[in-house]
C-alpha cells in the first residue's frame, strides 16, 4: 500500500462545473478537490445528482454537452493541466492514457461494429500496435477477464453477447492501450447480482495486474467496499468526506455518511396467510410466450392473498414481468388460467369488465416514462377516478385531493403541476396515486424502487406499507433487490428461466437450506465487509460465480430438504 502512494497521478483542485438549464448556468460541482496516486483505486459514492459521473468525465478533461468547467478549476493529470490544454491535446490522452468504462455496456458499444474492431480502434489510432497484434492482445485481455471463448468472442456483434460479458469486454477495451487511469462509471449497476460478482472480480484482478489507477463511481456502498482503497463521499456537488475504505466503513465521521451506512432500517412485520380463505389472485399452471417466440413462462403457479405482499425475485429474463403481464391480461397465457377470488379472470384485458379491470393496477419501474409529460397531475390521477367511479366536477376534485393526501403530497401544491416539475420520488408517488385512484384490491409493483436512491426508495416502501395497512391491498412486488424483499415481503417467489423454483413465507426463505438457485442469489448480494468478495471467491472458486454458476443449476432441481414449498 505504501509504495502505491508515492506518485500523484491525478490532482483536481477546486473543481467547479456548471450545467445549462432554464437559460441559466447552474452549479453542478461546487469546488471538489481530489488527489489520486498511481495504482490507487478511489471510490466516488453518493446519490444521483451528487455529481459523481460529472467528476469522472472531468478527470478526462471532458465536459458533457450542456455543461462547462468553470475557470479557476484545476485538473492536473501526470503534470499536464487539462483545463487549459487544447482539444487535440486532451483527445490524445483519451483512450491511451485515461480510459472510460460506462454504465451500460450494451448501450456504449456501437451496434454496427464487431466488439474486437471497437477494441482495436484506440491502439490502431495511436499506432501502438498493428491490427493483428492488437487483436491478439485483445484476445489475451479477454482471457484474463475470463470471458468464454476469448479467441472468438471479439468477432461477435455487441447484441450477440450477454450484458455481463459485454461489461468485461468494455473493461478489456479500456485496457487496450494500458492506460494509467480508468474511470469506471457505475460499471455493474445495470447487471444482475449474480453477474455483478464476476464483473467485479474481473475488474479488480485486471486493475491489480497492470497497477492501473481508477476512479470507481457507484451508488452501491457494498460494491465500492470491495473495489476501492479510499472512498470519497459526495452530496449535491460537494465533498462530504474522504478516508481509506476501512476507516470509512468503521468510523464514518459525517452524519450524511452515517445515514447512508444505516441501510434499510425499515422492515415491515411479516403477515401470514389467513386460514381457509380464498386467494385473491391465483395463478394456475400458466405457460406464456410472446408471438412466435419461445416459451417464457413454464407451468407457473402461485397464490396471492388479500392484504399481503408477495415478492417475486429472479434475474432479468426469468419471467417476473411476464407473469405480471399475464395477471393484468396484457399477455393472455397459452395454457393455464388466472383466478380472482376463485373465479376465472378473462385471459385478455379487453374482455374484462370495468370492475375486473379496476381490481388489478400497475406501478412501473420508470416513473419518468410511465407518466405522460404533457398531462397535469390532477388529470393523471383524475382520469382513472372518473373512468372507474364516474366522478365529476367537485366530487372528482375532492377525490384527487384525497388521494394526494394519501400519498403525502400537498394537493394545493401538486394539483396543477406537470410530471417534469417533480423529483424522481415524487413521480413514483404519482404513479402510486394513479393506481390507487382505481380503488384496486391488487397492485403489481414492477421494480418500483430500483431507479431511486436508497433514502427515497425507503420512503416509497414505507408509503406502500402504510397504504397496504389502511386499504388492505395485496401487492405483487417484482424486484431483483433482495434487501427490498427483506424489508417489505410477506411471501417470496423465486423464479428462474420462467419457472418458480421456490416459494414460501419470507422468514423461511431467508433461512437455509435453500434451493441452489435461491442460494446463489442470496450469496451474490454484496455485503459491506471489504473482504466479502475475496472470501466468496475463495469459497466458491473463481469459475463458480455468476452466469457460470447459474447455468449449472437446473430449475427442476429438487428443493433442498426441509424447505417450505
Amino acid at each position: 500500500m505504501a509504495s502505491k502512494k508515492k506518485e500523484v497521478l491525478l490532482k483536481i483542485a477546486d473543481l467547479k462545473i456548471e450545467g445549462y438549464s432554464d437559460e441559466t448556468w447552474v452549479p453542478i460541482i461546487k469546488g471538489v478537490d481530489l488527489t489520486l496516486h498511481r495504482g490507487e483505486v478511489m471510490g466516488l459514492i453518493g446519490e444521483s445528482g451528487a455529481g459523481k459521473s460529472t467528476i469522472g468525465a472531468a478527470a478526462m478533461g471532458y465536459a458533457r454537452d450542456g455543461t462547462r468547467i468553470v475557470e479557476g478549476s484545476k485538473i492536473e493529470f501526470d503534470g499536464m493541466e487539462l483545463t487549459t490544454a487544447s482539444e487535440s491535446e486532451k483527445r490524445a490522452l483519451r483512450g491511451s492514457r485515461i480510459a472510460y468504462v460506462a454504465q451500460s455496456a450494451a448501450a456504449s458499444f456501437n451496434p454496427a461494429h464487431k466488439i474486437i474492431d471497437q477494441h482495436t480502434e484506440a491502439p490502431l489510432h495511436y499506432r501502438i500496435q498493428k491490427r493483428m497484434e492488437a487483436q491478439e492482445d485483445a484476445m489475451d485481455l479477454y482471457e484474463r477477464l475470463r470471458l468464454p471463448n476469448p479467441k472468438e468472442i471479439g468477432f461477435r456483434y455487441p447484441h450477440q453477447v450477454s450484458g455481463g460479458q459485454l461489461q468485461r469486454a468494455m473493461t478489456a477495451m479500456a485496457m487496450s492501450c494500458r492506460p494509467d487511469l480508468i474511470i469506471f462509471d457505475e460499471p455493474t449497476t445495470a447487471l444482475d447480482v449474480t453477474t455483478q460478482i464476476e464483473v467485479l472480480a474481473a475488474i479488480r484482478d485486471i486493475v491489480d495486474q497492470f497497477n492501473t489507477a481508477a476512479l470507481y463511481i457507484t451508488h452501491d456502498l457494498a460494491v465500492v467496499a470491495q473495489m476501492a482503497d479510499t472512498i470519497k463521499v459526495l452530496l449535491k456537488g460537494n465533498e462530504v468526506e474522504e478516508a481509506s475504505t476501512e476507516e470509512m466503513l468503521n468510523n464514518p465521521k459525517e452524519d450524511y455518511t452515517k445515514s447512508l451506512w444505516a441501510v434499510r432500517s425499515f422492515e415491515s412485520p411479516q403477515r401470514h396467510r389467513p386460514k381457509d380463505a380464498t386467494p385473491l389472485i391465483s395463478v394456475k399452471n400458466v405457460d406464456a410466450a410472446y408471438t412466435g417466440g419461445p416459451k417464457i413462462l413454464d407451468d407457473v403457479s402461485f397464490d396471492i392473498y388479500e392484504g399481503m405482499t408477495v415478492a417475486v425475485v429472479g434475474e432479468s429474463g426469468s419471467g417476473k414481468s411476464t407473469t405480471a403481464r399475464v395477471i393484468t391480461g396484457l399477455l393472455p397465457p397459452s395454457k393455464g388460467e388466472v383466478l380472482f377470488r376463485g373465479d376465472p379472470f378473462p385471459p385478455d384485458y379487453r374482455s374484462r369488465t370495468k370492475d375486473q379491470l379496476r381490481q388489478c393496477q400497475m406501478i412501473y419501474q420508470m416513473a419518468d416514462t410511465a407518466l405522460n409529460p404533457k398531462v397535469k397531475i390532477s388529470e393523471i390521477i383524475g382520469r382513472p377516478a372518473q373512468f372507474y367511479s364516474g366522478l365529476k366536477g367537485a366530487d372528482l376534485k375532492n377525490r384527487v385531493d384525497e388521494i394526494l393526501d394519501l400519498i403525502e403530497l400537498d394537493p394545493s401544491k401538486f394539483y396543477n403541476r406537470y410530471p417534469s416539475e417533480l423529483s424522481g420520488g415524487q413521480k413514483q408517488r404519482i404513479g402510486i396515486a394513479r393506481a390507487l385512484a382505481a380503488e384496486p384490491t391488487f397492485i403489481v409493483c414492477d421494480e418500483v424502487t430500483s431507479a431511486l436512491d436508497q433514502l427515497v426508495a425507503e420512503g416509497i416502501l414505507r408509503l406502500l406499507d402504510r397504504l397496504q395497512n389502511e386499504l388492505n391491498l395485496a401487492y405483487m412486488f417484482i424486484t431483483h433487490d433482495l434487501a427490498t424483499v427483506r424489508s417489505i415481503a410477506d411471501e417470496v417467489i423465486v423464479m428462474q428461466q420462467g419457472r418458480v423454483v421456490e416459494q414460501g413465507p419470507k422468514d423461511d426463505m431467508f433461512t437455509p437450506p435453500h434451493h441452489p438457485y435461491t442460494d446463489l442469489l442470496l450469496s451474490s448480494v454484496p455485503e459491506m465487509d471489504p473482504n466479502w468478495l475475496t472470501t466468496l471467491l475463495e469459497e466458491r472458486g473463481v469459475d463458480n460465480v455468476g452466469d457460470a454458476a447459474a447455468a449449472k443449476i437446473d430449475p427442476n432441481d429438487p428443493k433442498v430438504q426441509g424447505t417450505n414449498a
Binding site: 468525465a57 478526462m60 471532458y62 458533457r64 454537452d65 483527445r91 490524445a92 490522452l93 483519451r94 483512450g95 491511451s96 480510459a99 472510460y100 460506462a102 454504465q103 451500460s104 448501450a107 456504449s108 458499444f109 456501437n110 451496434p111 454496427a112 461494429h113 480502434e121 484506440a122 489510432h125 495511436y126 461477435r156 456483434y157 447484441h159 450477440q160 477495451m173
Partner: protein, 318 residues
C-alpha cells in the same frame, strides 16, 4: 440470409396485391373521366352508326368489369393493348420513353445521392457553423423553388448567357454517350437541385439524432477524432432513415419529372402521360400509372431491404 429472402418474397407478394388494387383504381378512374371516347376519336360530326361501330370495335359496349378482366389478362404478359389514337402498341409508345426517363433519373441520382450524403455528413460535423447554415439555406431555397423556375434559371445562365450546355435535350439516334450526358446535363442538374435538400437534411438529422447515444460518448472518450466519430460511429447506425428518404426521392425522380421534361423538351414518360390524358388515350394512361405504381413499390421494397442489410441486429441474429 434465408430470413431476408423470405422477407423480400413476402414484400414482393404484397407489392403485387397492391399493384392489383391500384390497377382496379386506375381502370375505373379512367372510366369516370367525363366524355365519350368514341366521340373524342371521331369528332363532333360522327353519325350514331359510326359511333356504335367504333364502340363495338373497341369493346366499349361490353360491361366495364369484362373489359377490366380482359385488360388485366393481357397486362400480366406486359401487353397493355394499343393506343386508341395512333393504333400502335402501348409498349412501343412508352417503352423507349420509359428508358429515357430511367436514364435521366439515374443520371440525377448518381450525382444527387453522393452529394447529399457527403453534404449531410459535413453539416452534421460542422453543425451550427456558418457552413451548416449556408448549406441549409441554399438547399431549402432550391427545394422551395418550382422545378420549372429552376430549369429556366439554369437555361438562362448555362445555355443562354454562358453557352455551356444545350437548352433543349433532344435525343437522336447514334449519338455518343458523352454527347448524351452533355445534352441531358441541365435537366439532370435541375432534378439534383430539387432532391438534394431532402436527403441532405435527413442525413444530418439522422446523424445528429445519434450523437447523444452512449456509444458516441464512448467513442469520444476513446480519443476518436470528430470526423471519425461521425463517419465510423454515427453514420453506420443512421442508414435506415437515410435509405428511406433516398428511395422516396428516387421514386420522385421517375414519377415527378413531367415539368422538367416539358421545360427541356425531353422525350420521357411524363410527357407521354400528359399527352395521353389530354387525348383520352386510356390504354397509355393506364400503363403509365401502373409503371409509376410499380416503381414506388419496388423502391420502397429496396429501401426496406437496405434498412435490414444495414442493421447488424437483423443481419447477424443471436
Amino acid at each position: 440470409m434465408g430470413d431476408i429472402a423470405r422477407l423480400v418474397g413476402q414484400r414482393l407478394g404484397l407489392g403485387l396485391i397492391i399493384l392489383l388494387v391500384i390497377s382496379v383504381i386506375i381502370f375505373f378512374m379512367v372510366e369516370l373521366l367525363p366524355g365519350d371516347i368514341a366521340q373524342a376519336v371521331l369528332g363532333q360530326g360522327a353519325t350514331e352508326e359510326n359511333l356504335a361501330a367504333l364502340r363495338k370495335e373497341m369493346g366499349l359496349d361490353q360491361p366495364a368489369i369484362v373489359r377490366y378482366l380482359a385488360w388485366l389478362k393481357d397486362a400480366v404478359t406486359f401487353d397493355f393493348g394499343s393506343s386508341i389514337v395512333t393504333k400502335t402498341p402501348v409498349t412501343e409508345i412508352i417503352g423507349e420513353r420509359f428508358m429515357n426517363t430511367l436514364f435521366l433519373a439515374a443520371y440525377a441520382a448518381v450525382i444527387a445521392v453522393p452529394v447529399a450524403i457527403v453534404l449531410g455528413v459535413l453539416v452534421a460535423l460542422l453543425r451550427n457553423s456558418i457552413f451548416d447554415r449556408v448549406a441549409n439555406v441554399a438547399t431549402l431555397t432550391s427545394i422551395s423553388s418550382p422545378e420549372f423556375f429552376l430549369g429556366y434559371i439554369l437555361i438562362l445562365y448555362f445555355s443562354v448567357k454562358w453557352g455551356m450546355f444545350p437548352a433543349i435535350s433532344s435525343l437522336s439516334e447514334g449519338m455518343s454517350f458523352g454527347e448524351l450526358l452533355n445534352r441531358t446535363f441541365l435537366p439532370a442538374l435541375t432534378l439534383v437541385l430539387v432532391v438534394v435538400a431532402h436527403m441532405m437534411r435527413m442525413t444530418r438529422a439522422a446523424i445528429i439524432n445519434l450523437l447523444a447515444s452512449p456509444y458516441i460518448e464512448m467513442a469520444r472518450l476513446k480519443g476518436t477524432p470528430p470526423w471519425k466519430v461521425i463517419v465510423r460511429h454515427a453514420l453506420p447506425n443512421a442508414w435506415a432513415p437515410i435509405i428511406n428518404v433516398v428511395a422516396l426521392n428516387l421514386a420522385y425522380l421517375i414519377t415527378g419529372v413531367v415539368l422538367v421534361e416539358v421545360v427541356f423538351v425531353y422525350p420521357g414518360i411524363g410527357q407521354a402521360l400528359v399527352d395521353a390524358v389530354s387525348k383520352r388515350d386510356f390504354p397509355v394512361v393506364q400503363a403509365c400509372c401502373l409503371i409509376f405504381a410499380a416503381t414506388f413499390i419496388l423502391l420502397n421494397l429496396a429501401a426496406d431491404v437496405g434498412a435490414i442489410l444495414t442493421n447488424p441486429r437483423l443481419r447477424h441474429p443471436k
